[in-house]
Symmetry: C2
């Protein structure tokens, strides 16, 4: 039997594809700041093609989608690090979630624990994108850890020129959110597995 206190496996997904993205840098910071008993694996969604229900079957499903679904399925928790585009999440991120969300009710997403972070050069910290993403995740029974909020506004001042997160408050919020994500995933694991352990 597996050790019930084994590390929490997290898949980390950035919502922006551009190379110099503050959100990719924020995800890198999360990997660096991961607390004890948590492992974060970064998953690149760039190869995931547009969702088309005609291709969403075992014969036609694209290889990048298989890898996405496998990575999400093997993780206990998901860390989304996303910019805000037009008061919502990028289509790129929603598209990856659309693939991962099938089949409804028994997808790799169902029942996972998640946390959301976002960075922007603007003032409002990706608040609306995070609200939309919480709505979306609620649809597939993903439990979102909501505190502390990681809303990195004025990002140009919070990363150095090598894209390291240098703002101490932001680093502290990232660390705390990851600890809360780990603890929630552990509580969930214990409630699912612990009842049957000897």
């Amino acid at each position: 039997m597996e050790d019930i206190y084994r590390p929490v496996k997290v898949v980390g997904i950035a919502g922006s594809l551009r190379k110099g993205s503050y959100n990719r840098a924020l995800l890198d910071a999360a990997v660096e700041l991961a607390p004890d008993n948590m492992e974060i694996e970064v998953l690149d969604i760039a190869p995931v093609p547009m969702y088309n229900a005609d291709l969403d079957n075992d014969d036609d499903r694209p290889e990048a989608v298989r890898r996405l679904k496998q990575a999400v399925g093997e993780a206990e928790a998901i860390l989304f690090v996303t910019p805000e585009y037009n008061w919502s999440i990028p289509g790129v991120l929603k598209n990856a979630i659309d693939w991962a969300s099938r089949p409804v009710g028994r997808s790799p997403m169902t029942g996972k624990t998640a946390a959301i972070m976002g960075a922007t050069q603007g003032m409002w910290g990706t608040i609306r994108a995070q609200d939309h993403l919480r709505d979306i995740l609620a649809s597939m029974r993903v439990a979102v850890v909501t505190h502390p909020q990681v809303l990195v506004h004025g990002a140009a001042d919070k990363f150095d020129r090598h894209m390291n997160l240098i703002d101490e408050d932001a680093r502290s919020f990232v660390r705390q959110l990851l600890e809360n994500l780990r603890d929630e995933a552990m509580r969930r694991r214990i409630s699912l597995e612990g009842l049957f352990s000897s």
Copy 2:
């Protein structure tokens, strides 16, 4: 000088890529039911690639994106016909909007008039997707005509096997929404152009 009462040009965009989509069929019904003084041109967003800010410049912008931006730019109004995926709009549709929304404040989307329709085999008629889309469109100063709501639920009973919209109530709502879209676009046109006409 152009006739101020010329037909309203509408670009129609379906949010689903699959061939047998009820939403593509609903867009076809809208083309059929378009009222006097309105022309609807259907735009296929399937060729639009994933948004990547690194490619969003005059040298690298993909050809499908150029066509999308040109079509939106030349229209006075936009008709969105979209399924609901995970309590929001499909990533595929959001991605096309993300491209069309740049540059912020002076994009082809800015200041357009729009209407939203949706069809689903389920019970709730794409309500949440339409709410999210209204939030998204508000970010780029698109004026959304909100009534009547076109929420085609139980779609399997409302289209025939050739995907013709046969439900009389639904046809009436589509017609009425298109008339309201036309009238709002005309009011906007007259307020912009009419002040300066002789």
